[in-house]
Symmetry: C2
Subunit: 471 residues, 2 copies
């Protein structure tokens, strides 16, 4: 049965880094293939009642609030789902001590009754029950914040990782699911690591099979091969994971050059490779399907290698600031021709909101300018931040041309944004973002970016399916 | 009639820069003098029903949610009330062009029918009606975010400034109200400046008189003498404003060293003074009652002058990042012994939330460290950020010992914070901050600081009066 829906209202998107495209009209979305693709767009439609006759169909019409607009769903190119309970908990730590102090204990508790988090447990721990609560919660948070596609790191546990796949699939979020690989004994705690390369590969294959059983097409949920980062994996594991990704045609995600001590550690652990990027390249992990998170401290030579290999970068400004990792020079990465998207990096990042990542990308770019005598050419503005969050992210997750806009043939992965309207007496809706009525639409978008939150996300669709609605 | 109220529950405060004080118990607040002061505190009370008998009184008991706590109200030491509609609207501008492009047009529209903002008006503009809407809205926002005391800049207009005083007074927020002084012709637009020193002084006196008519004690609302910043005032105006503040015993607020081009401009306009700080000192404006906003680029010599004169500094990290002003070295200011509080600096800052200022103070301090080879001694952590927002702010606004804590004799200027509780299935309350139940209270506070917003502010009191409650 053909299922069609018309969406009418204001449509805003960021098709180019310095362009906000603001249109009113209607689009016809066809769900008969179960995928929710935009069949037609008509920017001459001026009323919801005319939309159906313009398209020559009978279909329900979904209307965006006049004070709001449709916007492409956000793409979170780097998020650790199991770490959600730790958002904001990092003290004054930096990457390597943060991992051992906060992160490994929490991650292990989603699959291991012997996790340090259970040392004072009064009743027998149920790690999978914890995983269920955490994963349902983080997906509620990301959907509520307009994230329609996320590239998740899970934990090393097959069961809990498969549960994350089940939950994203059931709730309709587009997701890459990564079982985390870490098996280098001296770099991983005894309570939280794969026992050997063989186990790493076998467990990864089990997760791959599970994702395929849910969605053979890999369009809504797909496994992503996930060596945590170079130091955490045995060299032969890195190599075999690269081979596995190639055989299976899967994407790869890992971390690179987040923190200077980490860069030093990689140099010590891999003395034969010339750089951090070279370590990944040497082990067959630097591919056009690879997402590298952070890239704060890459040399120019490494940038050129990443560019030559067509690997992608996930910029996580919130996390880089919170953990004191450094100021990622996004402008330089873009100028090198590298494809960049945004990541929340929960819980190195303290927020599951990609809108927050847009804000922090703008702020960090200003701070990068401070390192260059206040040079404004490093600035990322609102439109460019939104472009990174949508079109940039689409390229990073391999969905360029299918996500990030409202053109015909694109998937209906969309959020409806509502802004608050202030009345003449100063009363107003209980929404973030106060609109007084005289602001241009460009300025309303700026106000949304700088002040908006999940209260402004009224409805969210993935592949035409309504997956979130505010109460 | 004596009016007493007991507050029972968890009380958290930051009495020292590196100390979170977490107590349960009860306090008795006496409002018979109309001021709402803590008469007694008892940290041995363990149930709400025992509280009254412990104090030997009959009084209603207000109980904080078990998942939450009482926290001292925030003090916003620098906020421009009329600029609230422009939050998030700054593009890629920096201070001086931001003022002329965005700020002067908006501010002028609150009192001047010839404001550029009305050039396309179809009906006759009503500036005071606009002021009423804007001021009611910004006070709703600050109260909802737990700001119990604010030091406001208004506009140059006496009527609109007095209206701001009326509204804060009626709604019960503790406020300093500054009529903005700017009369140097070549530095101010024709449509938005006082005509002469005489007019500046006369209009300021009119606002002083109005504030006194509302509150002769100056405890809830008081005028604060407000030369916008050195470049905007004639030199004799600066001098006369300093004299007026001294005669009237009033506080002073202005801006200092926010942006490098501004610093250069001050040097050009005041060639006989050795520094920006010296300009204020020379004109009698550097006093123990002076609040200097920003102080991003002070020399060591200027810091010592500020310290010697016991003037205070309002640190506005959000604004400094948004407008690309620079990274304020808060640690150096504190090490010099200068008293520092936090400001939102709406709308250079894009948020009316002091909790956001706490977050940004932490982040900016990390970035300052990046300028010093990643030195962690520059770090401001959660407890210190909260201390700046409460105890630090109390010193800056001259209320040390009366605001910022729960000791006997302190004013009941308090916010009740509620955190979200996640259920075992991952469902949870529609509140920011997900508490899973295993977190320590220190970590819950960290989660609140990094993820909280106005939804977590359940109730707000000023001087014992309930001035905000979430629906």
């Amino acid at each position: 049965m053909v299922e069609e829906t018309i969406y009418f209202g204001r449509f805003i998107s960021a098709p180019q880094p310095d362009e906000l495209l603001i249109r009113t009209g209607a689009v016809l979305v066809n769900r008969n293939d179960g995928k929710g693709v935009i069949k037609k767009a008509d920017w001459t439609v001026t009323s919801s009642s005319d939309a159906a006759s313009k398209f020559g169909v009978e279909a329900p019409v979904v209307v965006a609030k006049d004070s709001g607009f449709f916007f492409p769903g956000f793409i979170d190119t780097h998020i650790h789902a199991p770490q959600h309970p730790n958002v904001g908990i990092f003290g004054k730590s930096t990457l390597l001590d943060w991992l051992t102090t906060y992160t490994f204990p929490l991650e292990s508790s989603l699959g291991n009754v012997n996790s340090p988090m259970y040392k004072d447990a009064v009743s027998p721990p149920d790690p999978l029950a914890r995983a269920k609560a955490v994963y349902n919660r983080v997906i509620s948070r990301t959907l509520a914040n307009g994230t329609t596609t996320a590239s998740y790191y899970a934990t090393i546990h097959v069961d809990a990782t498969n549960l994350l796949a089940d939950i994203t699939f059931a709730r309709g979020q587009r997701a890459y699911i990564g079982r985390v690989c870490m098996d280098r004994p001296e770099m991983c705690p005894d309570y939280y690591r794969d026992e050997s390369t063989e186990q790493t590969i076998a467990n990864t294959k089990a997760s791959i099979a599970h994702c395929k059983s849910l969605d053979a097409s890999g369009e809504l949920v797909a496994h992503i091969v996930t060596p945590r980062f170079a130091p955490s994996c045995l060299p032969q594991t890195l190599t075999q994971l690269g081979e596995l990704a190639k055989e299976e045609g899967l994407r790869i995600q890992t971390h690179i050059s987040e923190n200077l001590n980490e860069v030093k550690l990689v140099k010590e652990l891999f003395p034969d490779q010339s750089s951090y990027a070279d370590v990944y390249d040497h082990h067959g992990l630097l591919t056009p399907k690879t997402i590298l998170a952070h890239a704060v401290h890459l040399s120019k030579e490494e940038m050129r290698l990443v560019k030559a290999k067509k690997s992608k970068i996930s910029h996580c400004p919130n996390s880089n600031s919170a953990l004191g990792s450094g100021l990622c020079p996004v402008r330089e990465l873009l100028d090198e021709g590298i494809e960049v998207g945004l990541g929340t990096d929960v819980s190195g990042g303290y927020s599951a909101s990609i809108l927050d990542a847009v804000r922090n990308a703008c702020i960090v770019s200003r701070h990068v300018g401070f390192l260059h005598d206040g040079d404004s050419r490093y600035n990322v503005g609102v439109a460019e931040g939104l472009w990174l969050a949508t079109m940039g992210g689409a390229k990073v997750v391999g969905m360029e041309g299918r996500l990030g806009g409202f053109e015909e043939g694109m998937l209906w992965d969309v959020q409806e944004i509502a802004l608050g309207e202030v009345e003449s007496d100063g009363q107003g809706e209980d929404l973030e973002v106060d609109i007084f009525g005289w602001e241009s639409w460009e300025n309303r978008v700026a106000k949304w970016v700088w002040n908006g939150d999940d209260r402004n996300v009224r409805r969210v669709w993935v592949g035409g399916r309504l997956v979130h609605e505010t109460r």
